[in-house]
Amino acid sequence: MKKTSTLRTVLRRLRPYRGRIALTLIFAMAQVAATLYVPILVGRAIDCIIAPGQVDFAAIAALLVTIAVVTGIGALAQWLMNLTNNAITYGMVQDMRRDAFRKIQILPLSYLDRHPVGEIVSRVVADVDQFADGLLMGFTQLFTGVVTIVGTIGFMLSIHLGITLIVVLITPLSLFVAAFIAKRTHTFFRAQSEARGEQTGLIDEMIGGQKVVQAFGMEARVLDRFDAINEKLRAASLKAIFFSSLTNPCTRFVNSMVYAAVGVVGAFVAIAGGLSVGGLSTFLSYANQYTKPFNEISGVITELQNALTCAARVFELIDETPQIPDADDAVVLAEPAGAVEMQDVAFSYSPDRPLIEGLSLTVKPGQRVAIVGPTGCGKTTLINLLMRFYDVNSGAITVDGHDIRTVTRHSLRQSYGMVLQETWLKAGTIRDNITMGRPDATDEEVIAAAKAAHAHSFIKRLPDGYNTVIGEDGGALSQGQKQLLCITRVMLCLPPMLILDEATSSIDTRTEHKIQAAFATLTAGHTSFIVAHRLSTIREADIILVMKDGHIIEQGNHESLLARKGFYYTLYRSQFAQ
């Protein structure tokens, strides 16, 4: 059921290429016809060469010219078919990748959070690639294969019925042999992949923990374990590989039996005068050719099934429901003052597990809000809601009085400067990374921002300074340096509101101190939300939100909360005091 709908989608996506598909089918038929016609012509030519003095040179010359022409047509058709197939496949695949990528950009964060990056990437890259391979192979081999089989039967029938039956009846035997072997080897392959999985697990664990292995001098014992699994894998692989490699010799054996049968029967028919020597030669070459598409087609069908499975996974991504688009009349938030209000907000990631309920909060422009609480209390969730990475289930969040759902996402997010707990850097130069929010910034502005974020000193020590190219994960940069870069990035565009999510947690105390000083001056007049672990951050906040299990259980400033001797007091004592 699902397969047919995938197939339908593939066909729908092929529609823009239908002209070219018609072309490729015509080319394929021309090519196959030419390929099949040549042995007949050769056979006829051979019939003109009987014995000394019995050679019809004029007829041979005419036949050879025909062979040359037919060959030329066949080759040209094949070349054009290949080009057309390439154009169709790669064009369609490019479309699919483009659509998948565009979908990724508008998928709700909830989807992206639920699916591992590797999985989605493999859909866009590996699955699409596999699909392209399958499609190309299908186009070039499946169709020509079928036409070849039909054509061969036709041509053979035109020469001799009996021998044709021999070929047609015996050849499929090779398919049965292949299927029989495949079924038997399946168990061996499963044993192999189990052993391989076990070994990969061990390798993964031991190489990953190699430093510990060495620290405890466990090399010899680990090697013993490795040897045991390695031997198991060797034995399993030998069986799997040997038995599966029997397919080829066995099918070839069936083919040679067909060949022998055609030879013998053909000879008898020829002796009886029912077939010429040229005709027999044509038959023998058909007997060879006829089995080839059979062997290929079984491979192509597996490949195509595989391709369809891959395509289904890609389409699943492309057809995923995107986030609710911005309303047509959505307001563009321009330089908001930074008054943020949450009114009776409720939110949860899954309906059966309520998380945030009845959350209300009023933040005046320029206030600093520190969010504290134990792990999993909903601090990160609050940020997801403020940035509208997720929509509230009920209640509302407003910025300067606008419900954020009536504002364009772009302008809302541009109003916030965000430094997340997990640093993310783009592959590119340091400068590219800093200017993400303001691609037009001058070098002076970039350096000024870096200095303010205390990142300048380490950047200028890098091999190419601001033009140093870093990998996606920041390459050789330390965690602290990566965070300084992320801070610089925000420092450069300095939007009216700031969100800092434990951003400084792995920067050492001294650097963090300097950054906080810089932030303190720069955030003056900016509304900021800080998910904080450090006492100094918390103490300087105008509002401290103490969260527990999705609720704001206490709200106030450091002194008033301490005086209350509630949850904050306990938390403070356990985390920061001795």
Binding site: A45, I46, E205, A215, F216, Y259, V277, K426
Partner: protein
């Protein structure tokens, strides 16, 4: 290449037998057109049915013998390929284990895992294919030509011309394509990079409103990929039509020559058919050979990557006459003017450290991230060699100890609390050396010291409870305490805790320090970001960007070392002091 040959040596016999049987199979295949020629010339022309029967039986016999040869060849080839791959994998694993931390850092875990798995597998299938096919195809190609010569020299000359031309086209197109396939792979990698960035960086990209720029980048890379694919495709699209034309031209020439020779009475009709059959065989085999070369090329690339890992040698040399013990009256640990820089790093991570640690003392090491704390303690068990100066344990340079003897003295609790699949007991026994008591009482004692007793008590199965791979069925704090217990099982003379209490709550951390203080014979190094964890140490080393900015007790440092004071006061209120 040489690496593979070394591991194939044990399978010498199989490596000879596999191609040998393949060649036998090919020889029998080459007889087929001759038999068919006999059917035509003696059977059909002569009207002799017995000949037809005889020749038919020969065809069947040839098929059966071919099958047997082929199956035998497959067996030997599979055995050699699988066996050499297993031996290669083992050697590689043993080699990786012999590398020091410096090399492990350089190579990286994920690279090493890929080498061990995917690359070795690719080499295995390469070896298998080479043994099976690499000799067969050329043999058939040249065998056909030789058979043609035995039939008729002028006709064979057609083969002499055709084979080089065909080879030129097939291998020319391949040589052109292979480097371009790599370019295609590179273009695909760039598409992959773009995609991954937009997933892993979705929040940041959306926060900065960079969707359009990212889209443009992706589209450009996607188009570049398609353009490259089409370019390479244009060339490979020529392969089949061109070879087809060449072979058919050869057939035309063959028929023409054959016609003349038959007319002269030198050749028979059946022999012309045989020549035609030989020509058809050549094309099939050359195409097979071309595909084979692509696979071999891939395998060689993998083999090259594996060889490069073998090429990395441990930078750590073991002394020619290693010592098993030191002087029990000397200080437990001594750093003499020690500096250290990581391989390839411009700046040293630790500079000119002088520190003497008497037996039984507790040393605290504190400083910011990247200040060199871990570097300092990693020099004690000789995970890395000091670039300058010397580290002495019991008065003997660590480089003069036998590695086993050295690590037996030291219990390390690394920053990353990694446990391994097995039972709790298996994991704890990692820490035990020859001669250490390994009974349950000893294990429980270590667990108790590490504040891990109640974790295990509550676990079903106790010491025999399962630990999953990387200890993922345990929490961070539980893992940390188990790794501490593991280090304690070996009753080390020197215990190193590298930020090992970071996931523990304050009370457990304090209890842990309290219980470690009872190990009066053990010299303990505690690395921490928390001032509370180290303030009671006998000596505290304060590091800042690799430089030692203070050594002393808490009170001394608070008074004299501004960096220490800054760290301390940022974590504790001044008035509480």
């Amino acid at each position: 290449m040489k690496t593979i040959l070394t591991h194939l040596r044990a399978y010498r016999r199989d490596c000879v037998l596999a191609p040998l049987f393949k060649m036998l199979e090919a020889i029998f295949e080459l007889f087929v057109p001759l038999v068919v020629a006999a059917i035509i010339d003696r059977g059909i022309e002569g009207g002799d049915r017995t000949v037809v029967w005889q020749m038919g039986s020969i065809l069947v016999a040839l098929g059966i013998i071919g099958l047997c040869c082929s199956v035998t060849a497959q067996y030997f080839a599979a055995r050699a390929a699988v066996g050499s791959a297993a031996s290669l994998r083992r050697a590689l694993f043993a080699h990786i284990q012999s590398l020091s931390y410096t090399e492990l850092d350089q190579l990286g875990t994920s690279t090493l895992i890929t080498r061990m798995t995917a690359d070795v597998n690719q080499v295995q299938s390469g070896v298998n294919l080479v043994l099976r096919l690499f000799l067969r195809s050329p043999f058939i190609v040249f065998g056909s030509m030789i058979m043609a010569f035995t039939i008729d020299v002028p006709a064979a000359l057609v083969f002499v011309v055709t084979i080089p031309v065909l080879s030129l086209v097939v291998f020319g197109i391949m040589c052109w394509s292979i480097p371009r396939f790599k370019q295609v792979q590179g273009a695909l990698d760039r598409v992959l990079g773009s995609t991954r960035e937009n997933l892993s960086g979705a929040r940041v990209i959306r926060a900065f409103g960079r969707e359009a720029a990212e889209r443009d980048e992706f589209d450009a890379r996607n188009s570049a990929l398609t353009a490259l694919q089409l370019k390479v495709g244009r060339m490979s699209a020529l392969m089949n039509p061109l070879t087809y034309v060449i072979v058919n031209l050869a057939v035309i020439a063959l028929v023409q020559v054959g016609a003349l020779r038959v007319d002269d009475g030198i050749l028979t009709q059946g022999q012309v058919v045989a020549l035609y059959n030989y020509m058809s065989q050549i094309l099939v085999e050359l195409i097979k050979l071309a595909n084979l070369i692509i696979t071999i090329n891939k395998s060689l690339a993998c083999a090259g990557r594996i060889t490069s890992v073998f090429g990395v040698k441990s930078s750590m040399t073991v002394s020619a006459s290693p010592r098993a013990s030191g002087d029990p009256t000397a200080p437990a640990v001594e750093f003499r003017g020690v500096s250290f820089a990581y391989a390839g790093a411009a700046e040293p991570s630790l500079e000119r450290l002088n520190l003497t640690v008497p037996r039984g003392q507790t040393i605290g090491v504190i400083g910011g991230t990247g200040s060199g704390k871990t570097t300092l303690v990693n020099l004690i068990p000789r995970f890395y060699d000091a670039t300058d100066g010397a580290v002495l344990i019991d008065g003997v340079d660590v480089r003069d100890y036998a590695p086993d003897a050295l690590r037996q003295k030291i219990g390390v609790v690394p920053q990353k609390a990694s446990l391994f699949a097995g039972t709790i007991r298996d994991n704890l026994l990692w820490g035990a050396h020859a001669g250490d008591p390994t009974d349950d009482a000893a294990l429980w004692q270590a667990l108790e010291l590490a504040q891990a007793k109640e974790i295990i008590e509550r676990k079903e199965g106790g010491l025999d409870a399962r630990v999953e791979q990387n200890g993922r069925n345990l929490s961070g704090g539980q893992r940390q305490r188990l790794t501490i217990a593991r280090a304690l099982v070996g009753r080390p003379e020197i215990l190193i805790l590298d930020d090992s209490a970071s996931a523990l709550d304050y009370a457990t951390d304090a209890a842990l320090r309290q219980s470690l203080r009872s190990l009066t014979d053990t010299t303990t190094f505690i690395v921490s970001q928390r001032a509370a964890s180290i303030r009671h140490a006998d000596q505290i080393v304060v590091l800042d960007d690799g430089a030692v900015v203070g050594i002393g007790t808490h009170d001394q440092l608070l008074a004299e070392c501004p960096v220490y004071a800054e760290i301390y006061y940022s974590q504790f209120e001044k008035e509480e002091k």
